[in-house]
Amino acid sequence: MTGIKITHSRLVARGELKRCIFLIAFMVICQLYLLFLSAAPVPAEDKNRGDPQYIFYKGNTLYEQGKYDLAIREYSKLPARGMESGNLYYNLGNSFFKKGDLGKAILNYERAKRLIPRDSDLKSNYNFALSRIKYNAPETSASLLKRVTGIFNILSINEMTLLLSAVFVSAVFFFIARLYIQVTRRFSVFFMSVLIIVFILISFSLFNRISMLDKEAIVISESTEAGFEPFENATAHFTLYEGMKVYIVESKKGWRKVERFDGKSGWVRNQDIGKI
């Protein structure tokens, strides 16, 4: 009886090893598939919306000819049709800069930054435009948490979402591996705590970014006064200069309540600011 049992368990062990190898291979394939799928999200339906490529190149041609106003009009057709790209906003920013509209240039660079945050040309132009604005932004001392989550600012929102997903998937796969491979159990505490910390940091940062999406705005009129109330003749509270970044707190019929870097908030007209 015992002899039979032993052979049986050996057989089981051999079979399991094979299955483990198969499982790991399956997991890897799964993850690759996932990444592949998510890396190509929602392709633009080009054909139904005229030819966006053509509009873009037309804008480029007009820019080359120095017709910045026309180039802006051409480029702006794409966002109006509900399409965007980092390069598009970058070119739009350049056109506004050349035209001398610094606030709108910065606004478009900020928009581009949301999509192509690591682009060196964009960084250079953005910093140059910032150096041209009239006020000096104060050096704010960021908290440790903000500085750590700030590392992820080199990623776009989609990239961060993917990274978060990858961390989640690897955590799950680690648990699966834990079922079949005894050795992994030894590292489980370390590995899981690292994954959990990374997960929390990324999700916190992503949450911040997403919650800021509709709140950040750039002052586009040369200088505007923020009032205490949303009326034309309201008492001025503070001044906003072109290119300044503000946060929208509240909206009301043609007026927006914005908060400045120093925490002061006041009402400005819709057309004085542009949402990033």
């Binding site: 799964c30 250079s124 979402t161």
Partner: protein, 635 residues
């Protein structure tokens, strides 16, 4: 003093030469002896008088007070400087005074590192009558030299008046005190230019009084900038025949604004040692001793703080002339010299070189600013570092050549106002040749912007900046405001690995249990085995093999029950099954059916002939239902 001594030596030299020359002329021109002799003699006489005058400085007479009352004495001191061994001269009869020699007093003093010794012979003069008396000039011959002293004027007053003057009311004492200790302030010039250095001396004169804790003087100097006082000098000076111990404080000041300015008064604080006034009525005891010896010994003197004030000095401060003022003039006043050194003389473009500019001379170094480069287009110029010491002011200027086209460091100019000449003066040094090599890397030279960098350089750098050109391709165009985190497909896909994990885990658990729990394994295998048995039975049913059919039904049932309830299947009978299933929650009908089935099987095994096909089909159906029931119910 030093100056006097020098002139004295010069005069002696001159006399010797003149005398020798005269002798030679006499030898040569004997004919005109008389004609030549006369002017020579007169010249010699004049020079001899000069020598006598010069020697007069070395013999000085002084009195400790110049007002004295009848019955009181005064001390006359005859001082011989630079000569210790001179014996006491015999005083001639002085009109109105009786004299007595008291003794010599020698003094050694070191002033400015030079040692001098002097001997003072002290005489006591007792006035015989009232009036003004003139003492001297006294002459004294020693070793062939004649010493002639200055003259003194002494006023002798009536005994009562004199006592009043000396020990009378406080006011009188104060007046007396003012003559004996006072402060004088002197400025080197009364008309000065702005920023011009003016030597200022403040002298404390003390005449035979004890003074301690002398503080450095303070003086109001609105419109002037003043340095601190140096180490005070100490010497003796005679004013109107009265000898004073002088403490001299020296400093340098310069005016910082123009106009008629007032300097002073200087204030000096010190402690005066004064003899206590006797307040106790004269007693016999005191009379006996003449004075209170204990008083003198234990507390006859007390210190009293005094504040001495000098007079004011009026100064006219003139502005520097505006015409011919060099454009690079920045306020330096005095007489200066400039030396410039550049190092190294061979560098790479972008490396720093040092221009060391040393300004020496006399004048106000406080207003000396760094000399200016004539042109600094090809250089990045840093703010010079200034260092001031006693000899002058050193400026170290760092320059960075911007390209290898630089061949020389441009001219350095320094302008100042020369007071002696009353005009502006510009010193130019350079240009200095320098070899600038190409930088090692072919990169553009980038310089860190210092906060004080020249505006020109900054503007130049700004000029070179512009935005980078537009992008050629539109990049990946996507729907506006559509993000991955909103994508339903993507979000659903996140559940896949999780579901995978859950199912794998379940599988794993089951497998584990199958391996470990035989009862469980048997329970799981029961329906499959039963199915096999039923298929076999169906086969026998179709082939009409009744005995085999009931055999297989019985075996299937026994095995199924054994597996299902983990009983040893070999010995299963209706009774055992009954016992085992009694406690389980099973319908009575099912149990009855089970019992019947066992009975039927038993019967068939022994008397299979009476059984028809319909019975067999019913039995099979019952078995299926029984198994189905047991599989469906959790037991």
């Amino acid at each position: 003093m030093r100056v006097c001594r020098k002139t004295f030596i010069k005069r002696q030299d001159f006399v010797k030469r003149y005398f020798n020359a005269t002798v030679r002329i006499i030898q040569k021109m004997k004919k005109n002896l008389l004609l030549i002799c006369f002017p020579c003699l007169i010249g010699a006489l004049i020079i001899l008088t000069g020598i006598a005058c010069a020697e007069e400085i070395k013999f000085e007479a002084s009195a400790n007070r110049n007002i004295v009352s009848l019955g009181q004495g005064l001390q006359l001191g005859l001082q011989f400087r630079d000569s210790k061994g001179i014996p006491a001269p015999e005083l001639p009869a002085i009109n109105g005074f009786k004299s007595r020699y008291i003794g010599p007093s020698t003094m050694m003093s070191i002033v400015n590192g030079r040692m001098s010794s002097s001997v003072t012979h002290i005489y006591r003069l007792i006035p015989l009558k009232t009036g003004r008396f003139r003492i001297g000039p006294l002459s004294f011959k020693y070793k062939g030299d004649t010493y002639i002293s200055n003259s003194l004027t002494i006023q002798v007053v009536d005994s009562a008046a004199g006592r009043g003057a000396l020990h009378g009311s406080g006011q009188r004492t104060e007046t007396d005190l003012k003559d004996r200790v006072f402060v004088r302030m002197q400025a080197g010039k009364s008309r000065v230019y702005i920023n011009e250095i003016i030597p200022l001396t403040i002298k404390l004169y003390i005449n035979s009084l004890g003074i301690r804790n002398i503080q450095y003087p303070e003086f109001s100097h609105e419109g002037f900038s003043a340095e601190g006082f140096g180490k005070p000098l100490q010497y003796r000076e005679t004013i109107d025949g009265t000898a004073y111990d002088v403490i001299e404080f020296r400093t340098k000041i310069f005016a910082t604004k123009t106009g008629e300015l007032k300097l002073g008064p200087a204030k000096l604080q010190a402690n005066l040692i004064i003899k206590k006034q006797r307040r106790r009525p004269a007693s016999q005891f005191n009379d006996f001793f003449g004075r209170d010896a204990f008083d003198d010994f234990f507390g006859g003197y007390s210190t009293e703080p005094v504040e001495l004030n000098s007079g004011n000095i009026a100064l006219t401060v003139m502005p520097l002339p505006k015409d011919k003022r060099p454009p690079d003039f920045s306020g330096a006043v005095g007489d200066f010299d400039l030396s410039v050194e550049a190092s190294p003389d061979e560098i790479k473009a972008g490396d720093p070189l040092t221009l060391k500019m040393t300004i020496t001379g006399d004048g106000n170094f406080n207003t000396v600013t760094a000399p200016k480069l004539k042109s600094s287009v090809d250089f990045k110029v840093y703010k010079p570092q200034a260092k001031q010491d006693e000899d002058g002011k050193i400026f170290e200027q760092i320059l960075i050549p911007l390209s290898d086209a630089v061949k020389e460091i441009p001219e350095v100019n320094f302008s100042f106002f020369d007071i002696a000449k009353g005009e502006y003066h510009t010193i130019s040094k350079g240009p200095f040749p320098v070899t600038v090599l190409k930088p090692e890397k072919k990169e553009e030279i980038t310089l860190m912007e210092a906060p004080h960098a020249a505006e020109r350089t900054f503007a130049k750098e700004n000029f070179g900046r512009d935005i980078i050109y537009i992008k050629e391709s539109p990049g990946r165009l996507k729907d506006k405001d559509s993000y991955l985190y909103m994508n339903t497909v993507f979000l659903l896909m996140q559940t896949i690995p999780f579901l995978l994990f859950v199912s794998l885990r379940k599988m794993r658990k089951r497998k584990e249990r199958l391996r470990r729990d035989i009862g469980y394994a048997r329970r799981l295998s029961a329906p499959q085995k039963a199915k096999k048995g039923i298929r076999k039975a169906e086969y026998y049913l179709n082939t009409n093999r009744t005995g085999d059919f009931y055999d297989s039904i019985f075996t299937t049932l026994r095995e199924y029950i054994g597996n299902r309830f983990h009983l040893p299947s070999g010995g299963i009978t209706a009774d055992i099954v009954d016992n085992a299933l009694k406690d389980k929650d099973i319908d009575e009908d099912v149990l009855t059916g089970l019992r019947n089935m066992f009975k039927e099987c038993d019967m068939a095994r022994y008397a299979s002939a009476g059984l028809r096909r319909a019975d067999m089909e019913n039995t099979l159906k019952d078995l299926k239902q029984l198994i189905d029931y047991l599989e469906r119910h959790k037991l």
